[in-house]
Amino acid sequence: MMTTAYKSKDLATMYFIVATVLFGAQLLMGLIGAVQFLYPEFLFEIFDFSVARTVHINALVVWMLYAMIGSVYFLLPDETGIETVGIELGKLGFYVLTVAITVVVLVYVFIQIGPAAESTIWLINEGREYLEAPRWADIGIVVVVLIFVYNVYATAIKGERTGIVTVLMADLLALAGLYLAGMFFVDNISVDQFWWWWVIHLWVEATWEVFVGGLAAYGLIKMLGASRQVVEMWLWVEVAMLFGSGILGLGHHYFWIGTPEYWWEIGALFSALEPLPLVAMFVHVIYDWGKQAGKNGSNTINNRPAFAWFVMNAFGNFLGAGIWGFFHTLPQVNIYTHGTQFTNAHGHLAFFGAYATILIGMFYLNLQSKNGIERMRSTFNSKMAISLISFGVMGMTIALTVAGYGQVLVERAQMGATWDAFFISQQAQWFVQGMGWRLAMGIVTIVGFVYLAIDLLSISKVNHEKV
């Protein structure tokens, strides 16, 4: 039974469209940065690396937040059985947020930096990685997110409150509240980075992961017809494991920023446990897939492109966040790898594997529902998109890991992390070749994105089984 009449799902579509555009912008900015690593005169003093990088990571965070909000508006009517409460307010929030983000990006691109004054922090750029958005925009984001959280709570209270909705309610409140920890200025850089990590870490290594657990649970029920009781039981196990390891795993960011030594032990222990729930999530998806396969003949999966991205998520989350994170999470290793291309390699595969994949899966679920398609098949474009994007990101990750090895051994282990040590490592053959391959694999990723965009625009016109 497809439910296309909900306004909540139309609002989801609006969020998904902006998310896809921002995803494209993210890749374009990444391309500029990757070129500058090899040809540093490219756009020098016009559109410097710092500008490209700011937009690259902000577009990343914002497209994912858009896709997450869209996902909630999409699944809420299915889970609660009713139309979302406050949908008009939600629409207003969408327009306010989109206008605000457009202004923020234009300021990043054309004004870039300001004088060393509070006014720059308020109007141009806060200059803190990932949280660059100026303070006025922070306040706007909080207001819009409050509307969103209100809508979710009001709907859940009025309609049916499933396990998935209960998890999302708790998770979204924490996610929104944590943003406040990144909204003040201090002179003490250790205090600054202490709270900064509250936002970044407790988002991407705790609340976002739980959110993904909720989406995976919803998707398995929706696409495979998996048993809600089994899926929700797994979800609660995952929440326990994710928060149990992720909250204190925050300690692995407190090794070297001026904070006390006891974070070595706490951070090492709990962050080393962080991969476990990711293994559990992976096993769970594969288990449900196997359990349901063949139940309704060969047509168990009713949305093949979405399911492929969900499986990619289970795999990529484990590999990118779990394995690549574990590689350098122990302080004995991290004292050398902290802040090198190693971190960069992990960042690329983790954000892609843990978040991009499942959110793209949600785009396909939305297209299926919007067009009343009972069984959505993969097209040639769907397959090219998932293959090229995954291969591209994996390729970038391996290239950056190789470059990272070169950098760590030369700059950190051998030469002691100075200005000269840094640049000598950047000229090392392993490093330069790694950066070359990263650029090539980045281009593969972009080609994959073009296939994805074409597919999202055209897949619903292909001959699927209609309701």
Partner: protein
Amino acid sequence: MSNKIVSVWTDNNFWKRSAAWITGFSAILLIWLTFDTLGQITQGTDTDMQKDAKGLYFSKRIPSATVINYKIGYEYSDKRGHEVPTINGKEKFFGRDDYSEEEAAALLHLGKLGSQAKNCMNCHTLLGNGAYYAPDLTKAWLDPKWKLMMAITQKKTREEAMAEFLQHPSKYPTHSRRMPNLDITAAEAKGLVAFLKHMSAIDTNGFPRNFGKKDITLRERSAK
């Protein structure tokens, strides 16, 4: 939904309660540790600094801004098992070594604001966090490179060379990857140098390791 409970291990309520307890317990532990850590990373005072100056080590993890009046080192400590910042008597900073707590704090404030307003963190890392396009700035004040840069910028002191470089970075390329001009004024540059000097005195548990212990530039070496 089936309500048949085979065992506690397949009981959703058991797992729901477990998740709530584990999350609550972790959160409370984190909040408790946060209070302890914030106490330990509160900036020290000038009084602490004057006491510390009689010995070698800082008593505070994050010293007072008046650290700019002193000579800072980074030495291996047998007790700690890694390098720690050291205090080695007075040192002039832009010609003075008597900055009051207010004056020094004002410079640090300007420098910290500047570090954000100029978006340093999206090329450099600070305390190891940021982007990976340019060198880590944690101990930049102590970088042996400034000796060479003093000659290149024709300045007599390290702080003047740093301030000159920050104001006209693309004029002094040291690598094909140059730092762009960021419209940094003389006053802002002074603040930024104070900020960098203060950061080099933060106790980072030995990060980065062996900093500047190999005072090499390969070019200089191979020239010998």
